[in-house]
């Protein structure tokens, strides 16, 4: 299981890549997505320091008879964020997740690219507003 330091290192690595994507904004969708993954690792780093959690995957509820997970990894992580972290973290992390999903997976067939859904400022806000707010709330 990755340690707190492992998660922080990955988060910083992703954040550096996001900074490079900010300079030209050709890949707004990937800027938003990288911000999401950076935030995810910051949050998992924070979870590592909560003894009852340590990592979201290891605490996913399991069916007592089959041992299988009762929900998805992402769904459980969001529930942990909701229960354990300030509301602002939930709001901004959820925004990053929702927007990165839209950016990556929305198969537009109304003559529009999913990346045109977001303005340049929207993409910049993913880094400057959402990711930075999460770091601030987590004391990073």
């Amino acid at each position: 299981m990755p340690s707190n330091a492992d998660h922080i290192a990955q988060a910083l690595h992703n954040e550096e890549f996001a900074v490079s994507l900010k300079t030209k904004l050709t890949y707004k969708d990937w800027l938003i997505t990288v911000c999401f993954y950076s935030a995810l690792h910051y949050i998992e780093a924070h979870f590592f320091n909560i003894p009852a959690i340590q990592h979201s995957i290891t605490t996913i509820p399991k069916d007592p008879s089959t041992g299988k997970w009762q929900c998805s990894e992402h769904g459980w992580r969001m529930k942990l964020v909701q229960r354990n972290l300030p509301p602002n973290v939930y709001i901004h992390f959820k925004k990053l997740h929702a927007n990165s999903t839209t950016a990556r997976y929305l198969d537009t067939n109304k003559n529009a690219l999913s990346s045109s859904y977001f303005s340049n400022q929207d993409a910049l806000n993913a880094f400057d507003k959402d990711l930075q707010m999460i770091k601030k709330e987590l004391g990073l």
């Binding site: 009762q70 929900c71 998805s72 769904g75 509301p87 939930y90 925004k95 929702a98 999903t101 929305l106």
Partner: protein, 222 residues
């Protein structure tokens, strides 16, 4: 034609609502199922007890009356609102169902209900037992007030609820997204044990079937 049962909820220090169950016994289980298939009554949550073809209909319009605390002596129950029979009633038992008062605007009645429901649950949240139906009612009550919400579908993956909310926007709106997400938090206050994933889908696809599966249930449409 109808059987009504009065049930009340017990709280301490607060005035609860009196609830009337509107129930109807069906001779044929297929007729009981048809209730939930009437398009303009897509808010109906019919529970079917197959052993005696009984369908308890919880119709989402609240016409409730405050009840004095002194008369309460039973434990809290699930809040299941119903139509008083004076507003409408089924005019036949069989394949054709309809309102006796067809001029009633179901949408207006529905809207009044959800406003009342949301206010009631915010004022006395500890009255309500948690159930799947309450969760769906909460979803609709919270999100239908947002003009950009076009429809809400719900599905399940394992024990997790998957909520797909289709929006009317085709450009990202950050304020709207924060509003939508704040509703998730509010809903979770009433249903803290439910694991739910909310997907907000902008108006960038032509065919909802790309996202919605056969088992997905429509619970709200503007």
């Amino acid at each position: 034609m109808f059987t009504t049962t009065e049930k009340t909820t017990k709280t301490s220090g607060k005035t609860p609502d009196s609830i009337t169950f509107l129930t109807k016994e069906f001779e044929n289980p297929e007729n009981a199922k048809k209730i939930s298939e009437i398009p303009h009554l897509n808010l109906l949550f019919g529970r079917e007890f197959l052993d005696n073809y009984f369908s308890q209909i919880s119709i989402n319009v609240a016409q409730v009356t405050p009840v004095s605390l002194q008369s309460l002596s039973i434990p809290p129950i699930t809040f299941v609102p119903s139509f008083p029979s004076t507003i409408f009633s089924y005019n036949t038992l069989g394949d054709n169902w309809g309102f006796e008062n067809p001029q009633e605007n179901v949408k207006e009645i529905r809207d009044r209900y959800f406003d009342r429901k949301r206010l009631t649950m915010q004022c006395i949240p500890d009255v309500f037992e948690k159930s799947d139906i309450d969760f769906e009612i909460l979803l609709v009550a919270e999100y239908r007030a947002i003009p950009e919400v076009e429809s809400i579908f719900i599905d399940e993956y394992l024990d997790e609820k998957i909520i797909n909310i289709f929006l009317s926007i085709n450009k990202y709106d950050d304020d709207l997204m924060e509003l939508l997400i704040s509703r998730e938090l509010r809903i979770s206050n009433f249903s803290p044990d439910i694991v739910a994933t909310y997907n907000y889908i902008p108006d960038l696809i032509n065919n909802k079937q790309d996202i919605i599966t056969e088992q997905t249930k429509l619970i709200y449409e503007k």
